[in-house]
Symmetry: C3
Subunit: 404 residues, 3 copies
């Protein structure tokens, strides 16, 4: 019967706090002002500006690239030579990046054999005993044989067993060998996906037709959605000089930002391109400034001995960096933000209570209205005389007096 | 003495709001109903469904792949030729992706020299003055010499300095040259790591033995955890036709989803594979549909002149896209969700207050019980007559009337 | 007049809950204790430890690598041979990863033709009819011609059309062919970017000069910010044996952690390196343990027939995995955490109410002070007799009795 009554009263009773309604212009205005500020913050900042009602997801992306362009070089060693995509894009395909060779040091006809090492303070020698047979350091081109041989008419260096002749990369061609690579173009195809919302899109927008695509060049003002980029323009947009960068190479970021509000139409979700240089221009704080790597083309002659052409390729690596967040309305973040917004309303009451109960002239009057004092009877009965004098606050005293 | 007393009372006093308990079936039920809805939302949706008590982390992943398969082709120019992994996977290894060549246009024995350009509306010519020496466009194969030479018996085009003969990619072999690549297999080894929880796992589950691995082929129904995929099945699972796709190439996503609930045993954390086509099938909205790139194999003949075989490789790039979120119980998100859940309970009180104080017949009666009105004495004493008439609300008036 | 009056009262009135102030050591201490615990949790854990006042962002990264080192091998088939970067890094450049060949099986002078297949239980044969012309399996090296030919003096296998001679990878060189690769070094250049805060940094810190960079080797104790890593040390730091790993290859993670607190000076944001093995050492649960792939170098002889050197490259792939989170003060997460912290304070009141109203001796006394009972007059008037007896709780009864 008791539990049933308890359940009955639980279901059919409603408890609401008792409120003191204080009629005061000052306090009323403070209260509403604070509440207004909190409301403005919650609605204006959290919901409108930061879109706190949205669930977000990070982008999953796939990129393919295609470089176009040919250039002619004419040197005494190589003669006239045309360079096309198969010659200057190494490796021919990569996942999110593409390397375009802009400068090159070729060492033709290298064969395994013995030759003098490049001269530096460790490899120069006067006599045989300056050279240690079998010595290799991290900067060596080969293994020392222990002989001291003439490098040129004036200098002698230790002999090494290596791919000979050794590459001499002391002088980098300047201007860059393939300086006309400035006019090459990259077509970037990017497919993005937001797994949480199962939303996917391509950077070649459906509004673009193939005639436009064949002839357009990206320009932030006139052609912001053209996915074909002129190398020179990319470098320039990042505030760099292409011809300078082409000499020692470098790394550029081609950034694609896909910030999408999926509560709006999908057609508003478009890529934004930006460009940044990633490697350190400042050569004081780096070893091997710019960007280069070595690879070789291997040949076999008629009597089956292997030779190779060593290529030290300087160039610009374009990293296509895709990032972005999509947001879409979701109940959870909305409720979390409403919940904590409501909790902040409590701050207004706390603030005004402090004003009313501690700062105003009539504070004792208001305190009496707000508070009702209840003595701990057990405690009181134990230390009757002492406790009474100590614990009773003036307010409480006043109340008792009022009653009498 | 005062501050000590204040501290004493701060420590040993407890303040709790005074409550009006209204015995009303209607309001009681509304109140409990709203509270129940909020509780159900907080527990059911936030905690059980969305696992709001969990801290989450994004996956860090490493992928290696290995393709297997050989195929035979038989053409008049090449004769019988076998193609194995070293021939059709280019480059031989990549980080999260693997390219399998399915179709190819070979241009054998290219040498630096002069030859007619491919005919199109810009390169066809009648006489010498139609050709501009030194002219290069983005679609050129070389640099124009200024001569007009016969391309075939009927057409004359401008002569270019280029790798000659120029590649003619007008006709793509159909069916695809390596059409049997449909039966090739890819072994995908994937290692994932959740740094926040220091949890790592491989897609080759510990329950799988090496005999099974050597013979299994992934199938979503029968072998969902076999990491060996038949190319044809991947493309088919994405709703595409392999033989069609093989002609012009394309990009496929092999998606591995690692959504893990780390509050459960690690053995429940297993990969889920899915497949998607990433490039645009619709050729109207794209340039260079499908996926292809060019590379060359370089040779030197006995008198040291370089020649190359230009390969235009069409094929399917398989991007292994690994994504997922791991969740594990954590105090912070739990507390945030409990906190905002509690705050939402306040909504129930606000709602019922509106019903009780504004919608019910006896609203004035309830208002009087809930509210206690306190006049601002200062204000009242200043504008005694005027203020009294204005400030007092009907409720208050009623209350005074009731008392009399 | 009424709406104006309502607005007036809305503006100039302030409502604050009426409070019962209970003077009880026990309850007061419980209340303050619980509040203190919540405060400690909110401030100590959420704010100080987990930095709940910060907005976070994930890292966007770009990596370039450069390997240095040469080594000499001396075998009967190849003779003395020097291996440099162009020989053992394949492909010559990749985005976030670098492969260093440590072991190799070379098959020289392969040509398209007919030769016996490698012997295994499916390819061994006694007579011609054991071999099916045209048969290919996933593990085949070529297509069967239907002949049965001697593989060596004792075994006969089916003849295949393939790149001949077929690669025999049954015996892996042990110790590894390029065992001195342990002393090679990798220079890792890493540029990171936090898009939300537009903060970027390089792993070559501005405090480091180029002389130091040219000579340093990373060591977690003495040189924690040197970006040059010795291969042997990386493998050792991951608890592996380099010489063992070099034989069959493997995949190593070189992890760079950029956890940054951007509320502090940028100079405190420094990379932390760590190392982990990613592939499965346990060969029982994997096919093709370690890491290897095949590629070929193509040659043409004087009468234009193509030959190739097939290389099965075993080696260590170093995946540079960059991760991390940057945090910076932001209003939204701060407010969410404060809001839910405030809401948790409500828990203290609920808890103490339970103690006071249900557990203490004088609970009926306290209940009477806290609650004010209001009957639903409508209901009461309908079921006068019955309802009164049922609905009134003992408390209420007591209150009535007290009054009398």
């Amino acid at each position: 019967m008791v539990s049933c009554g308890a359940f009955h009263s639980f279901l059919f009773e409603y408890d609401t706090p008792r409120i003191v309604l204080i009629r005061s212009r000052k306090v009323g205005l403070i209260n509403r002002g604070v509440q207004l500020a909190i409301l403005a913050y919650v609605i204006g900042w959290v919901f409108v500006w930061e879109k706190g009602y949205q669930e977000t997801d990070s982008v999953v992306s796939s990129v393919t690239t295609k470089v176009k362009g040919v250039t002619l070089t004419n040197t005494s060693t190589l003669g006239a030579r045309i360079w096309d995509v198969a010659d200057y894009v190494i490796p021919p395909q990569e996942e999110n990046t593409v390397f375009v060779m802009t400068n090159v040091i070729l060492t033709l006809n290298q064969r395994q054999g013995r030759c003098p090492e490049l001269p530096d303070d460790k490899t120069e020698c006067k006599v045989k005993k300056d050279c240690v047979p079998g010595y290799i350091s991290t900067h060596s081109n080969g293994i020392q044989t222990g002989e001291c041989v003439p490098y040129n008419s004036s200098i002698k260096t230790c002999e090494i067993f290596a791919w000979c002749p050794v590459e001499d990369d002391y002088h980098i061609p300047k201007p860059a060998f393939l300086q006309e690579s400035e006019n090459f173009t990259i077509l970037v195809k990017n497919n993005i996906w937001y797994p949480k919302f199962n939303f996917s899109k391509r950077n070649i927008l459906p509004t673009i037709n193939s005639t436009y695509l064949k002839n357009c060049i990206y320009d932030s003002q006139t052609d912001p959605f053209c996915p074909v980029f002129r190398l020179g323009k990319i470098v320039e947009a990042a505030g760099q000089n292409f011809q300078e960068m082409a000499v020692e190479g470098g790394v550029m970021a081609l950034q694609i930002n896909w910030d999408c509000n999926l509560d709006r139409a999908a057609s508003h979700c478009v890529p934004k391109y930006s460009f940044r240089r990633l490697d350190n221009k400042d050569s004081a704080h780096t070893v091997s400034p710019g960007y280069n790597f070595r690879f070789a083309k291997y040949y076999k002659d008629s009597n089956d001995t292997e030779s190779r052409t060593l290529v030290k390729a300087y160039g610009i690596r374009f990293d296509i960096i895709v990032f972005g967040k999509a947001g879409k309305f979701d109940v959870i973040p909305t409720m979390i933000n409403i919940g904590s917004g409501l909790a902040l309303f409590g701050v207004a009451t706390v603030l005004c209570d402090i004003v009313v109960l501690y700062c105003m002239k009539k504070k004792y009057y208001y305190r009496e209205k707000k508070y009702k004092y209840v003595e701990d009877y057990e405690l009181v009965s134990i230390n009757e005389g002492r406790a009474k004098a100590k614990l009773l606050l003036p307010l409480a005293l006043q109340r008792f007096r009022n009653r009498m």
